[in-house]
């Protein structure tokens, strides 16, 4: 579906890559990382909005140089902030989108508009959540095979967020569609993502199956002496104990005098980002 090979992009104070990434058909991939890690740069490069310094992006087995229109016909894309004409109403905007996409699906559009009760008034007068939802509806209404979403759920209330995440699940069910979305809300990813890609300072630290992540990362807690003997990816000193992130089998630590807990995505991001930094939190 989506293949990224050795993509690099340079700015005076930031370098992305080289990034290699594969998103197969039927999967939802979550892209996580701190602010400025390179998530949007990577997404914009995938969308051909930023020309890469080197490397290749292949989507549906095609490249932008030869098939830009065909590729974009089958991509539903959402920017982090609204990109639609703010003075237009949803129905006016839909008329423009209908002219842009050959596969525009009025039935899906109407169903989603009803489901999410989007008001018929200028987009700039809609709430932030309704506007974000409208972008979501537009992206889902032209039979795209790949959705690329840059922070699509930020600003949405939990109920709407969950409904949209359910829509994403339904969207990939046929097995020939995929989703790539970046977010700061790691709980969203834990609900729907099959694959997680973590970017830190322009580098992909890992791109793994969610189950594999759950099995291979653990938060260990214990006395400083016990923790210091372990090869941890990051540590954090608390008042009563020290904790850190361990990569490996649970059984490896059977003899260690430590407690083990499953690592959440947020734990993994936190410890990997902080590395071996020891932060005292009182």
């Amino acid at each position: 579906m989506l293949e990224i090979n050795q993509i690099e992009k340079s700015y005076p104070k930031f370098h992305l890559g080289p990034v290699d990434l594969t998103l197969p058909e039927g999967y939802i991939m979550g892209l996580v990382g701190e602010n400025g890690a390179g998530k949007s740069t990577l997404i914009y490069t995938i969308m051909n909005l930023l020309p890469p310094k080197s490397g290749e992006v292949s989507i549906f087995g095609m490249n932008y140089k030869e098939n830009e229109v065909l590729i974009k016909e089958h991509i539903g894309f959402i920017y982090e902030q609204s990109s639609f004409y703010e003075n237009l109403t949803p129905s006016s905007m839909a008329r423009l989108l209908r002219l842009s996409y050959k596969n525009w699906d009025d039935a899906t559009y109407r169903r989603l508009m009803e489901q999410f009760s989007i008001a018929e008034k200028p987009l700039k007068k809609l709430s932030k959540g309704q506007r974000a939802t409208y972008h979501f509806i537009a992206a889902l209404s032209h039979n795209a095979r790949l959705l690329i979403l840059d922070e699509p759920t930020s600003g949405l209330d939990p109920i709407v967020r969950r409904e949209l995440l359910d829509e994403l699940r339904r969207y990939v069910e046929p097995g020939n569609r995929s989703v790539l979305f970046s977010t700061h809300i790691t709980s969203d990813l834990e609900q729907v993502a099959d694959l997680i890609t973590f970017i830190h300072k322009g580098q992909v630290l890992f791109s793994k199956d969610v189950e594999e992540l759950r099995e291979s990362y653990h938060v260990v807690k214990g006395a400083k002496e016990a923790i210091d003997t372990l090869p941890l990816l990051g540590k954090q000193s608390k008042r009563t104990h020290v904790q850190g992130l361990y990569e490996g089998e649970r059984g490896d630590l059977a003899d260690a005098q430590v407690e083990l807990e499953p690592a959440s995505l947020e734990d993994i991001m936190f410890f990997m980002k902080r590395g071996d930094e020891h932060e005292q939190i009182s």
């Binding site: 914009y44 969308m47 051909n48 909005l49 930023l50 020309p51 830009e68 229109v69 065909l70 974009k72 016909e73 894309f77 920017y79 609204s82 990109s83 639609f84 004409y85 703010e86 003075n87 237009l88 006016s92 905007m93 008329r95 423009l96 989108l97 002219l99 842009s100 996409y101 050959k102 700039k124």
Partner: protein
């Protein structure tokens, strides 16, 4: 390309921009005419009226039709839709050329209409100068596609105000100077078209390669 042009046409229709821009055009005309009648200091107008009006007429059209708040569609929405950057640039350029030609016709007819009162009917060299000057202005304005939406709107507003101010003050000397340098007017128009087209080609090259 035809799909992009249809989209641009529909966008103008959905925004209801034509009616608004014609109203603003009348407002500019009223201010300019009011100034000329009130001061009655620059007659005959035949050397100045058409070049000023044809350039001034572009502003309300460009400002209203392509006013996009802060959404910068050429940098955000349109490149994310199934169009190539060439489609987007050439399509938008063609629409602007159409607007330019329309504003030339409107200005020419208006110059003839008020000709009996302020001697504004242009002779052929002045028509050429008007065509050349407004085309240069159009291609310079077209560079604003690289800027953010609100900055572009501010720049267009500044250009309109500046142009109006210039036409009321030193515009006469500018156009008379051009006429003295290029008596036939044709050379000026030809040179302006060449410079404008070159500028647009450079503009297109930048748009096709830049980060959006």
């Amino acid at each position: 390309m035809s799909r992009f042009l249809k989209l641009e046409g529909q966008t103008i229709k959905e925004k209801g921009a034509i009616k608004k821009s014609l109203l603003i055009l009348l407002f500019y005309y009223a201010i300019y005419m009011g100034f000329l009648v009130f001061f009655n200091s620059i007659t005959p107008q035949s050397d100045v009226f058409f070049p000023t009006l044809s350039t001034l007429s572009l502003i309300p059209f460009l400002t209203t039709i392509f006013d996009d708040d802060n959404t910068s569609p050429l940098r955000r929405l349109l490149p994310s839709l199934p169009f190539t950057r060439s489609d987007i640039f050439l399509g938008r350029s063609m629409i602007k050329v159409f607007i330019w030609l329309s504003s030339l016709v409107i200005s020419y007819l208006f110059s003839l209409l008020v000709g009996p009162f302020i001697d504004s009917a242009p002779k052929l060299p002045i028509v050429y100068i008007g065509i050349g000057f407004s085309f240069l202005f159009l291609t310079i304005e077209h560079l604003s596609i690289h800027l953010k939406g609100r900055v572009t709107t501010l720049i267009r507003g500044g250009l309109a105000g500046g142009l109006l101010g210039m036409s009321m003050s030193s515009g006469m000397y500018l156009f008379q100077g051009i006429r003295e340098t290029f008596p036939s007017g044709y050379t000026f128009m030809f040179a302006s078209l060449i410079v404008g087209i070159l500028l647009t080609l450079i503009n297109m090259r930048i748009y096709q390669r830049r980060a959006l």
